[in-house]
């Protein structure tokens, strides 16, 4: 999986590409937590080029969203399609994330 972090207007934009498996989820969590540690609290995760997220990846997204909310920030998701969208819908995670 390719992961790219950029800062745009004080928002951490994370572009993911490929499949998000358990090992990728752990790396994503570690890198995102480093941004929280620097004081960032607003995140946008672009999933438009992601073809699969396993349950570990879904769990990491939930944990990052909780942390953002704890810091009075936000975590937005963008570009859910195909199986990724289906997984969000069947687990109802589409109801708790802000999808832009």
């Amino acid at each position: 999986m390719k992961v790219n972090f950029t800062l745009i207007d004080n928002k951490v934009v994370i572009k993911l590409e490929g499949s998000l498996f358990v090992e990728d989820a752990l790396l994503l969590r570690t890198k995102a937590l480093a941004y929280f540690a620097e004081g960032h609290k607003n995140f946008l995760i672009d999933l438009s080029k992601v073809d699969y997220i396993d349950s570990s990846g879904l769990g990491v997204l939930v944990s990052l969203q909780k942390r953002a909310l704890e810091h009075q920030g936000a975590l937005q998701l963008h570009g859910l399609t195909g199986v990724v969208l289906e997984l969000f819908e069947l687990t109802r995670l589409n109801k708790i994330f802000e999808i832009v």
């Binding site: 358990v22 090992e23 396993d54 349950s55 069947l90 109801k95």
Partner: protein, 147 residues
């Protein structure tokens, strides 16, 4: 990967039955990671209509085995066995660790939707027709009708 690796074996029984078998054992999650593309491709050949959904189910079951079932003292072994027999695909994921039967939770409930774990079984149940445990919880068997 272990020696008991069988890929894409097709067996004719008296010209009546067509069996396709995939059987492979992994000794670490890293090893399984390297084999994911092969499993995807094999599922695409065995069952093109449901291959993505079945890959999701297999991946979740293997993750569960490595992350919750393994006793490293014994040496890790997680085996995937797939058998296509006419109109049904049977997928068994077994491991040599401690048996466990995950508690099924409906992850769509308000209490669970904010949980950071516990979605794997719910996802598997969504994508297969039946899910059962055997060998004291060391094996999960998933079945999918292909027609």
């Amino acid at each position: 990967m272990s020696n008991d690796y069988i890929f894409g074996v097709t067996i004719y029984k008296g010209g009546l039955f067509l069996l396709e078998i995939f059987d492979c054992t992994y000794t670490s999650l890293e090893e399984f990671c390297l084999a994911r593309d092969t499993i995807r491709e094999n599922l695409q050949k065995i069952c093109p209509k449901h291959s993505i959904q079945l890959f999701v189910a297999v991946n979740e079951a293997v993750n569960n085995a490595f992350l919750h079932g393994i006793n490293d003292n014994k040496g890790t072994q997680v085996t995937i066995n797939m058998l296509k027999d006419n109109d049904e695909l049977r997928i068994a994921v077994s491991h040599n660790g401690e048996g466990f039967i995950p508690q099924y939770t409906d992850c769509s409930t308000l209490d669970q939707v904010y949980s950071e774990s516990g979605r794997g079984i719910d996802i598997i149940k969504h994508y297969v027709d039946s899910l059962e445990y055997s060998v004291c919880g060391r094996e999960v068997i998933m079945r999918k009708k292909l027609n």
